[in-house]
Every structure is written in structure tokens, then in C-alpha cells.
Point group: C2
Chain length 294, copies 2
């Protein structure tokens, strides 16, 4: 177990530093001015930066140097931002509002939204290659590319089907979200662990934590989509029910979903209970995600 | 200089083997059935596989084991295929025909075209990470991500502008194509060289070869777009002139463009003239690309 190291950074400090990395990667590339503007608009939009926080807190939990985790944290946020831009496109979810602002295609046009998303997908791997020249870079590249492809597969299941035969509604829902939301959250924790030089057991424990948190995150998302207003969420809500999509509240009811959230929170915390005090911010993050209201 | 090793494989044999790799990567991923179908349709479509050939022939030219170059060859073809899918989208070039068949969005719908392109962009890096576990993987990842982002920037210049101020028409055209077409061709040769363990001088020579070939490829493309029918090319032609786009024949005339092709061919061959007989297939490829008619 790692020895206790007091975390020097608050969540907000980490967010600011991740944004510095994100801005630096994009601005260092000598891009067409219009592409740079669209990419920065997307990637620096006022989000929660949950995935970067998970990378950082997972690295710290194992006593790793948090400084080493920032390029990976920026890379996962780039993949996340790319997925939001493309998911919002008219041909997909057709959303006008994201994080309280017009979506990228509304603001910059559809062609630019396609290309800005593409750019963020590719540049995430450049950030990893630049940040981790040796063998760790290869492992991180493998994690990130595996998670990105899984996420895209999840988006296909969610919007276009293509399921294996004979799945129940619950199995379909799990398959969608294990891929669509779960894969990047799992990858965040695993990348943080790899940055910290985790051993096999630690990696397994963090993976369990991440899988529970990922599912919990989605159940909470579905509950919020049903109970909150668009104004509170900064994006269109009630859209799943309107589209007749499978959701956790749809299958288990609001109360059943809230019970699931509590169980998943417990499962996540149990997975890392043998970790020391250095894992406290990671535990706190799980608790916050269980009760978030936006 | 490398010793002479007779190339065991013809261009067609390399194409077949690249396609085997491409198919295996996609089928091994347990994808949604509809996504797998769209991705295979795109990536295994009857193309020339020029970039994979350049990877293989560059590796062989330096006496490298060609077997080692296949994952990189597959990865660059994935990036190329992704770019074609997205470039063809209604919001971008709005093309219905590609390689003599309906484009991906015509055949599978626009949402799937976005996601299949995204998938290929991400999975290319998974192919690299799987094929090259050590430090070479990191170098290849850096090359490929750099080339992919440059290509996307080139597409932005081509379709949406965003140029630095005060560029001449010729400078704009060069900036478009050095990025849009040139970056992946340059990357192909450099990845092949890295797979062969090239030294700095060899890498520089191959880079010069590739930059000349990349520009030549584009000049030929522009000439063919103006002189060939859609039936001959398997894609819509005369579209650059119709769209009022900058082209090499537009700036220098057909004869001037043909002269440029001959000069660039010579430049490419000169760059690798100190290479041994093992570079003969790479020289031959350059000659073929100079006189291609489709």
C-alpha cells in the first residue's frame, strides 16, 4: 500500500491545470485559426472534468506523482470532448445545447463540428505520445484506444442498435452503458494507475472501483435526465423518455434506480477499501458523483 | 546501406496481406454487427492501398523485415479510410461515389458514417499499440497522430479556410496539400523506416522522398480530376473546377502541372539514390504513381 501523501491540489486546482494542458496542446499545433477556435470552444467548455479528476485521483491513490498524470488526464478529456461534439450532431442526437452553451455544430457549422471532433480524437494520442515517450506510453495508448473504440461501439448500440441476439432489455442497457459511458471512466482510473506504476492487484482493484462508478454515473445521469430541467443541467433533458430509449428509471423506476446508485457507490468504495489515506480524494469523488444534481 | 534482399512480395500480395490484417483487427473487436459491416465496407473497399505499400516498401528499402511493417501499414490505411468516410459526408464534400461504390453515408446512413469514421480513427492507434509493444510503438503513435491531425487541418483549409494572412494562391494550395494528402504519405514512409530501425540520415532521405511523392500524388490527382471521367476514376470528377477550388492545373495549366509531376518524380528518386537494390520497389512505386491514370 502506498504511504500517505497529503493531496496538494483541490478538484478546482486540478481542473485549472488540466485546462492549461488542454489549451497548450491545441495552441502548440499551429492549426487553422477557425479549427483552433472550435476545438478550444469544445475542449475548454465549462464541464466537470470528471475523467481527468479520476486519472489524477487514481494516480495519487497509489502514491504516484500527480504531475505525471496530467498528459493522460488531458488525453481522456480530449476523447470525451470529441465524443460530445459528434454525439450532438444533427445526424446523431441533434442537440443544440451542451454545458449551457450552443453545441459546436450550432456555433461553428456541421463541417467544422465533424472535423473538430476528428481532430480531438487524433490529438489525444499525440498528447500521450508526447507525455510518455517510453513503454508506459504504449500501455496508455492501448488503454485509450480500446476505451475510445468501446465508447463508439456504445454510441452505435444506443442510437443504431446492432445488438447480439436474444438480449433482455436490462442486458441491452448494460451493454450500451458499459461501453458508452463506462469505458472512458474505466480507462481514466486505469491510466492513472499505470502512471503511478500500479501492480496487478492495484490495477484490478481500481478497475472494479471504476466499473462501479461508471455504471453509477450513468444511472444518476438517467435519473437527472428525468427529474431535472434543461436549465439546471445545461443541456436538453427528458429526451430519453421522449425518444423511447431504454433508461434505468424506465426499467427499475426512480426509487429502484436510487437504490442501485447507493449499492454501486458501496461497491466502488469496497473495491478500494484496502487503499490508504491517499485514496481519500478518490473515495470523496465517488461520493460526490452519487449525489450530484447536475 | 542495407544489403540487397529480394522482395518476396508483389504489390498485390502486399495488398492482400494488408487487407487480412485490416479484417482481423476489425473482426476481433466484438463490435455491434452494423458497425462491423460499415467499417469493413469502408476499409476493405477496392482501393490502391498506396499508403500501406509505401510503409512496406520503405521498410524493405532499408533492409527491414517486411513482416514487422504490417500493423503500421494497416493503421495508416485505417486513418486514410476514416478520412474518406468523413470527407464524403453531406456536410463536407457531399460525395455519393467512392472507389466505384456508394459512399458509406449513402449505403449505411449518416450517423453510421460519422461513427464508423470515428471508430477507424481510434482503432488505428489500437493496432499500433498491439503491434509494437515497446518504445517503437510510442514513436509510431507520435508519427501517426501527428499526421492524422495535420490531415484534418488540411481538410479544414480545403473546405473552410482559416489560412494565415497574406498567403499567395500557390502558398495556400501547398499548405492544403502538404497537410491534406502529404502528411499521411510522409508518415507512411517514416513509419516503414522506423519499423526497419532507420538511422537519422535514412529517415531524412525517406522523408524527402515522401514529401516529393506526396505533392506529386496530389498534382496527378488534380490533373486526373480535370481530364478523366467519373467512370474511369470510380468517384465524381471535375468537382474541384465546379466548386471553384484552387488546383494545380488551375494555377499552372495542364502542361505546367505535368512538368511539375516529372520534376517531383525526379526529386523523389534522387532523395533515395544512395539506397541499394532493396529500394527498387520503392522507386518503381514512385514511377507508377507519376503515370497513374486512376
Amino acid at each position: 500500500m502506498s504511504t500517505f501523501t497529503k493531496s496538494a491540489a483541490t478538484d478546482d486546482e486540478i481542473r485549472r491545470r488540466v485546462d492549461e494542458y488542454l489549451g497548450r496542446y491545441v495552441k502548440g499545433e499551429n492549426l487553422p485559426a477557425n479549427l483552433e477556435e472550435a476545438v478550444l470552444y469544445a475542449v475548454l467548455s465549462p464541464g466537470k472534468r470528471i475523467r481527468p479528476l479520476l486519472v489524477l485521483r487514481s494516480c495519487e491513490a497509489l502514491g504516484g506523482e500527480s504531475e505525471k498524470a496530467y498528459p493522460a488526464a488531458a488525453a481522456i478529456e480530449m476523447i470525451h470532448a470529441f465524443s460530445l461534439i459528434h454525439d450532438d450532431l444533427p445526424a446523431l442526437d441533434n442537440d443544440d445545447l451542451r454545458r449551457g452553451r450552443p453545441t459546436v455544430h450550432v456555433r461553428f457549422g456541421e463541417a467544422m463540428a465533424v472535423l473538430a471532433g476528428d481532430y480531438l480524437n487524433s490529438v489525444a494520442f499525440a498528447a500521450l505520445a508526447a507525455g510518455y515517450p517510453g513503454e508506459v506510453g504504449g500501455r496508455l495508448c492501448s488503454e485509450l484506444s480500446g476505451a475510445a473504440t468501446a465508447m463508439i461501439a456504445g454510441q452505435v448500440y444506443d442510437t443504431l442498435g446492432g445488438f447480439p441476439e436474444n438480449l433482455s432489455a436490462k442486458e441491452k442497457l448494460d451493454l450500451i452503458h458499459r461501453n458508452k459511458t463506462g469505458a472512458l471512466i474505466r480507462c481514466s482510473c486505469r491510466m492513472g494507475a499505470i502512471c503511478a506504476g500500479a501492480d496487478a492487484l492495484q490495477l484490478e482493484q481500481l478497475t472494479k472501483y471504476a466499473e462501479a462508478v461508471g455504471l453509477m454515473f450513468q444511472v444518476v445521469d438517467d435519473v437527472l435526465d428525468e427529474t431535472q430541467s434543461a436549465e439546471q443541467m445545461g443541456k436538453r433533458t427528458h429526451k430519453d423518455a421522449e425518444a423511447g430509449k431504454l433508461t434505468y428509471p424506465g426499467l427499475f423506476g426512480l426509487e429502484g434506480s436510487r437504490t442501485q446508485v447507493r449499492e454501486l457507490e458501496k461497491e466502488a468504495l469496497t473495491a478500494i477499501e484496502t487503499f490508504g489515506d491517499s485514496a481519500e480524494p478518490l473515495r470523496e469523488l465517488c461520493r460526490l458523483l452519487a449525489v450530484r444534481t447536475k
